[in-house]
């Protein structure tokens, strides 16, 4: 690690976030609400990827739902197979295969389902399958220098295609209902309140780990090259870098992160369906990041929590108005504060802290940064 890897300020900000999601929220919220937050946090994984890919490298992907969904489906396939023991499915005409396959007159498990009997394979597949698809897309697009709006539109199209494919291939994918009725993970019932609490902590811990990893990438020279690429792609190219490779890397990394989020979503929510893959969820994921701040990892996480909290709160009372409010929010962010909440905090709160600092110098910096927590939230 170079000396620039983590400043003390960054570490404190991460610790505050960790304390917030791993201590404050579990103490303050009832199990049902906490499970909801757990669901929101899985979108946070996508947000981290979007900060790297969109915020830093300037590659806007409107198809992150693809990778979130793929990760989620990988996990759902494993859980579904575990729930489909011959004993549990003995009333089917072909026992031992998932129920929806039986309804669709399939008589054997398709080949691509078989490896998902193994948890180890599944855990590897969760980040790797999305990353592999991202690699293929990236290779086809970035090597041919397709970028900007065209790339965004193509990712959008792929999200639509994948949704149609999943819905159309009912017998293999569970169709529009998705993969439902997931019960146990290695015999451990994931539907109980206690299991959901444990999964919440696993998901939260994993999110913090991914946050640190993303931080590490951003602090490396690679992170600076991503920013440089966003600003002056040609200059980077004429400094001897193969720009396409860096784009492919960051797009794959974002996809892998989204895949992990999807898998944690499946575990906590108990099903996966095409409604998390298509165009609308993909755009929503981008909005969460935009509101929080696309150039700030923590900003994206807070933004994801905030927008989803607002979504749940408002759509419980006024479901029709929510979509309009969300649209208005997005426009407001783009027009008024392009760097999102994180940008607002940096512009308004950071100078305030800087003014406080001289007076507080003898005090350990933990106290100095403490007011920030309230401000960020």
């Amino acid at each position: 690690m170079t000396e620039s890897s983590f400043s003390r300020k960054d570490m404190i900000a991460v610790l505050i976030f960790a304390a917030f999601i791993l201590i404050v929220l579990p103490l303050a919220l009832e199990p049902f609400r906490l499970n909801l937050v757990g669901k929101y946090l899985t979108y946070g994984f996508v947000g981290l990827g979007l900060v790297l890919c969109w915020g830093d490298a300037g590659i806007l992907s409107l198809g992150q739902g693809i990778f979130f969904g793929l990760g989620g489906y990988c996990m759902a396939m494993f859980l579904k197979l575990e729930a489909s023991t011959p004993a549990a499915t003995k009333i089917q005409s072909t026992p031992g295969i998932p129920d929806f396959m039986d309804w669709n007159q399939l008589t054997a498990l398709p080949w691509f389902w078989r490896p998902f009997h193994s948890l180890a394979f599944t855990i590897a597949a969760v980040p790797l399958v999305p990353a592999l698809l991202a690699f293929v897309i990236g290779l086809a697009m970035f090597k041919r220098r397709v970028g900007g709006t065209y790339f965004a539109i193509i990712t959008q199209a792929i999200a639509a295609i994948l949704t149609i494919l999943i819905i159309g291939q009912q017998g293999y994918t569970g169709g529009v209902n998705g993969i439902t009725d997931l019960r146990t993970l290695l015999g451990w019932d994931i539907r109980t309140d206690h299991a959901k609490l444990v999964l919440y902590f696993i998901s939260g811990g994993l999110l913090i780990a991914c946050l640190l990893l993303a931080q590490l990438v951003r602090r490396s020279k690679l992170g600076r090259i991503l920013v440089a690429m966003r600003e002056r792609e040609d200059r980077v190219r004429f400094s001897g870098y193969d720009v396409a490779n860096f784009k492919i890397f960051v797009f794959c990394a974002a996809a892998a992160l989204a895949g992990i989020g999807g898998a944690m979503f499946t575990l906590q929510v108990g099903f996966m369906s095409p409604s998390f893959v298509g165009i609308v969820p993909s755009i929503e994921l981008v909005i969460f990041t935009a509101v929080g701040g696309r150039t700030s990892l923590l900003g994206a996480l807070y933004g994801t929590l905030l927008v989803n909290w607002a979504k749940t709160t408002f759509s419980e009372d006024l479901p029709q108005l929510w979509l309009l409010a969300m649209g208005a929010l997005f426009i407001a962010v783009v027009v008024a504060f392009p760097n999102g909440l994180a940008g607002l905090v940096q512009e308004n709160v950071a100078p305030l802290l800087a003014r406080l600092r001289p007076r507080l110098r003898p005090v350990p910096s933990a106290t100095v940064d403490a007011p920030k927590q309230g401000a960020v939230r």
Partner: protein, 248 residues
């Protein structure tokens, strides 16, 4: 004329056409090691296009560009850079959101692959080289500043510095003093004279005083072809050149 292999850069029969318009037409010229060559010519003569063709930004329709005996027209841009050709653009092309230090560091020729960049460490060798180049381009006191805070002239110097840190054998500069104040111009000429010694340089420039100051030889382009070539004195007295260019 000696064998082409003796030249650092040998451009032969280079042609590129855009929708039938030949921006560069069967162009040949040769650059020696350690030579400072200035390309001049009226607007639209194809000067910038020639640099684009050499550095791979534009693909040639025909002809060859050989650099140290290696054919460049088939290489990708980053491979051409790695072969030892550096290119400065007309408008300052730097990373405004990064500091001066980071701008130079990114151009440091190490860790250019994805995983190389991930594993790159800012060690003493890097720091020293960055400082060394920064003092050469008059920016040592600004190393920690974000590049957007620099003046136009300082941005031009920074980009020149970003090339110097790569230590290219051939440096291509597109109007390095354009838009500079008189004092900046003088400093730039001084900077170039100091750094251009150990390498070949291909410069496009309109400022005749500046050209006379630095050029070993001058190539005059007109409508994508070489109109005249030789010393500044020779070129200036060539009636063809006077007619199309200097006479205006």
């Amino acid at each position: 004329m000696t064998e082409p292999a003796d030249f650092l850069l040998a451009v032969e029969g280079l042609t590129v056409s855009f929708d039938g318009f030949k921006a560069v037409d069967d162009l040949s010229f040769y650059v020696d090691a350690n030579e400072i060559r200035v390309i001049i010519g009226p607007n639209g003569a194809g000067k910038t296009t020639v640099l684009d063709l050499i550095c791979g930004r534009t693909r040639a329709s025909a002809g060859s560009v050989r650099f140290r005996g290696r054919e460049l027209t088939r290489l990708k841009e980053h491979q051409i850079v790695q072969a030892g050709v550096g290119r400065k653009f007309q408008t300052p092309s730097i990373y405004e959101d990064l500091t001066v230090f980071e701008n130079l560091e990114i151009s440091f020729p190490r860790g250019r692959s994805v995983f190389g960049a991930l594993a790159f460490r800012r060690d003493e060798a890097v720091r020293e080289r960055v400082r060394e180049v920064a003092s050469l381009i008059f920016l040592e006191p600004m190393l920690g500043e974000r590049a957007e805070a620099l003046s136009h002239g300082q941005k031009q110097w920074l980009e020149i510095g970003m090339l110097l840190i790569q230590d290219p054998a051939l440096l291509m500069l597109d109007e390095p003093v354009a838009g500079m104040s008189v004092s900046e111009r003088r400093k730039t000429a001084e900077l170039l004279r100091r750094v251009l010694r150990d390498r070949a340089v291909l410069v496009i420039e309109h400022d005749m005083g500046f050209v006379e100051d630095i050029a070993h030889r001058v190539t005059v382009l007109h409508q994508g072809r070489v109109l005249s070539e030789g010393s500044m004195q020779h070129v200036k007295s060539d009636p063809k050149v006077v007619e199309v260019y200097l006479g205006h």
